[in-house]
């Protein structure tokens, strides 16, 4: 970790410690009942924007079904799929609500095809489109769209699969491939092959994002609680990674990455311009060394790292150049930033984000002010819902007398875990009482 990043993380950590020092040293448990309120609200917001376990299972079923469909006997790609594997956010467990549809999720898949290296980009993309779209009346017909680099399958519930066709470059470097860029309305001369190794990149991100078991377990419990509440509804397949709640768990920096992506999506919702690529954010997140136990510190450190890279490019009168650490010829920033204005725009967003984050983590702001900040940072739906749940939990704990009161006065629900870890220390559990009072005259 670079010293200035270290310093910033330490500064934020120090700030949080100072603000809650009266209570916090008593309970260092990540996402524990006495964690800073901002940290709890960040976790609850992240849970509301990420792919929940129930939809993860659905995504896996759909992913497998599409793969089988592409390889059906009458498909133009029958026996031509070498490997079908999740990439991007799905592979690093950072899938969040779609930017385009508030109720949907984008699932990124790679279909590594067995085709001649001379096949043109447009033909590769068209072939995949035909294979998935199928004949009229077939399963996906009319629900498929050929994009510039991938083929999208749409589902009525808002989920969609982005399937990117690739060709392996060499057997000696598995998964080093070409992806294809061919915008339909542009001349063939602009169509290109681009080197990529998404597989190695995702493996690198996962290796760089170690799991803190206590954080991961605390986060998992929250994920499962909300999912239970909200429940709605064969070649060489690389299984989609199990949902973080059932296998391996999730690192705080990946949760932070999800929140940063959500903030970016919100900022660019009305701008109608290309947005900073998720893969670039993921690369910076993976490189950032942070405590594995703290979402806010991870957010602070990652946003600072990105900001510093963009500002350094600005100072050099250049555009930021970010590459795949496992495939140097793969440029993550080949389509963004378009120009210096685009770069400066995101620099401004990040500066604002960091200011808002510092306020969210400060004890000098009320819950109502933190709600407003959370809404500005991540949107009204998840933010208000996270605050509503927090308020309901606190109120219920007070009404039933099942709460602990910290030396500062902070009230926390007396869950079994909290009672066990805190009750014997400076926290008190006063007896219950009933709020009373007069009605406002005229009511």
């Amino acid at each position: 970790m670079r010293p200035e990043v270290n310093a910033a993380a330490a500064e934020l950590a120090g700030e949080i410690d100072r603000q809650t020092s009266m209570d916090n040293h008593l309970d260092p448990t990540p996402l524990g009942p006495n964690a800073p309120v901002g940290e709890l609200l960040l976790a609850e917001t992240a849970i509301r924007i990420e792919l929940p376990p129930s939809l993860h299972r659905l995504a896996v079923q759909r992913y497998e079904a599409v793969h089988k469909h592409i390889e059906r006997p009458d498909s133009p790609l029958c026996d031509k799929v070498r490997i079908f594997y999740p990439q991007g956010s799905m592979a690093i467990r950072a899938t969040i609500l779609s930017r385009k549809r508030a109720d949907g999720f984008d699932i990124d898949i790679i279909a590594e095809l067995i085709l001649s290296q001379s096949t043109t980009p447009a033909v590769v993309l068209d072939l995949l489109f035909e294979a998935i779209n199928g004949p009229p009346g077939s399963q996906y017909h009319g629900k498929v769209e050929r994009q510039t680099r991938c083929v999208t399958v749409y589902y009525a519930d808002g989920m969609h699969l982005d399937i990117t066709p690739t060709l392996l470059l060499t057997e000696l470097d598995p998964r080093l491939s070409h992806l294809f860029h061919a915008k339909k309305e542009e001349p063939v001369s602009t169509h290109v092959r681009l080197p990529m190794n998404s597989y190695a990149f995702c493996e690198w991100v996962n290796a760089m994002s170690p799991i803190d078991l206590i954080f991961s377990e605390a986060y998992r419990r929250r994920v499962l609680a909300l999912d239970a509440h909200n429940m709605r509804a064969d070649a060489d397949v690389k299984p989609v990674p199990a949902h973080a709640s059932t296998e391996g768990g999730k690192a705080a920096k990946i949760v932070a990455l999800q929140l940063l992506k959500r903030n970016r999506n919100l900022k660019y919702e009305r701008r109608k311009i290309r947005l900073p690529p998720s893969v670039m954010l993921a690369k910076f997140a993976a490189e950032t060394v942070t405590l594995g136990t703290n979402i806010s510190q991870a957010l602070d450190a990652i946003s600072l790292k990105i900001l510093e890279a963009l500002e350094a490019a600005e100072r050099s009168d250049a555009l930021v150049d970010v590459r795949n650490p496992r495939c140097d010829v793969e440029r993550f920033t080949d389509r963004w930033p378009d120009d210096r204005n685009a770069q400066r725009l995101y620099i401004g967003d990040l500066r604002l984000f960091r200011t808002q984050l510092a306020k969210l983590m400060s004890a000098g702001f009320s819950l109502a002010e933190k709600r407003d900040l959370l809404v500005e940072m991540f949107g009204v739906g998840p933010a208000q819902s996270a605050v509503d749940d927090y308020v309901t939990r606190i109120g219920h704990a007070v009404e039933t007398g099942k709460r602990l009161v910290a030396p500062s006065g902070r009230v926390i629900p007396a869950t079994v875990a909290a009672s066990g870890s805190l009750a014997s220390r400076a926290y008190s559990q006063p007896r219950g009482h009933t709020f009373f009072g007069s009605r406002w005259p005229g009511e």
Binding site: Q19, T20, P36, V37, A363, G364, F365, S366, L367, A368, K370, R371, Q384, V387, D388, Y390, V391, T392, I394, G395, H396, V398, E399, R403, V405, A406, S408, G409, R410, V411, S428, P430, R431, H433, T434, F435, F436, G437, S438, R439, W440, P441
Partner: protein, 155 residues
């Protein structure tokens, strides 16, 4: 009945953030900082022993009176619940200084045999936590009830 000295001693032990600003044999006044969620509020607690010679002891001699000094309580006239302020004894002179209603007198949840440090102060913290939630959502989630008549609760 707990003496003023006992109350002051318990407050000093349990809530060192509170300062006793004035006291006598039958009364005490504290100022201190208290959080419900995270934000610290400066509050005032006025307390007195009942005067046996009087039938109509003033409110602060019947039970400890808690007022929030800063940041000032902010009425919300549009709140779904408890507009314009939740669970207070409304004071017409300055609504934001209305004393908090922390217990139900009819249930005899508080008496002068109780220590303020173990009842009134943590109950005020409960109130502040619920007040913050009410400010953020317009909902009062801490339960409670209201006096049905003007005389109820006035003992």
């Amino acid at each position: 009945m707990k003496s003023v000295r006992q109350q002051i001693e318990a407050m000093r032990r349990h809530w060192p953030n509170f300062e006793v600003a004035a006291f006598g044999n039958d009364h005490a006044l504290w100022f201190g900082a208290l959080a419900g969620v995270e934000l610290q509020y400066r509050i005032m607690i006025q307390f007195g022993l009942p005067d046996p010679r009087r039938m109509d002891n003033c409110q602060w001699r019947r039970f400890p009176l808690v007022r929030v000094l800063s940041p000032s309580l902010r009425p919300n006239w549009d709140a779904k619940d408890e507009a314009p302020l939740p669970h207070v004894y409304f004071e017409n002179t300055d609504i934001s200084l209305s004393p908090l209603c922390l217990f139900d007198p009819c249930k005899r949840e508080w008496s002068h045999a109780d220590l303020i440090a173990k009842t009134t102060v943590p109950w005020a913290a409960d109130w502040l936590a619920c007040y913050e939630g009410w400010r953020a959502t317009g909902r009062w989630t801490g339960g409670g009830r209201h006096a049905e008549t003007n005389s109820e609760g006035k003992e």
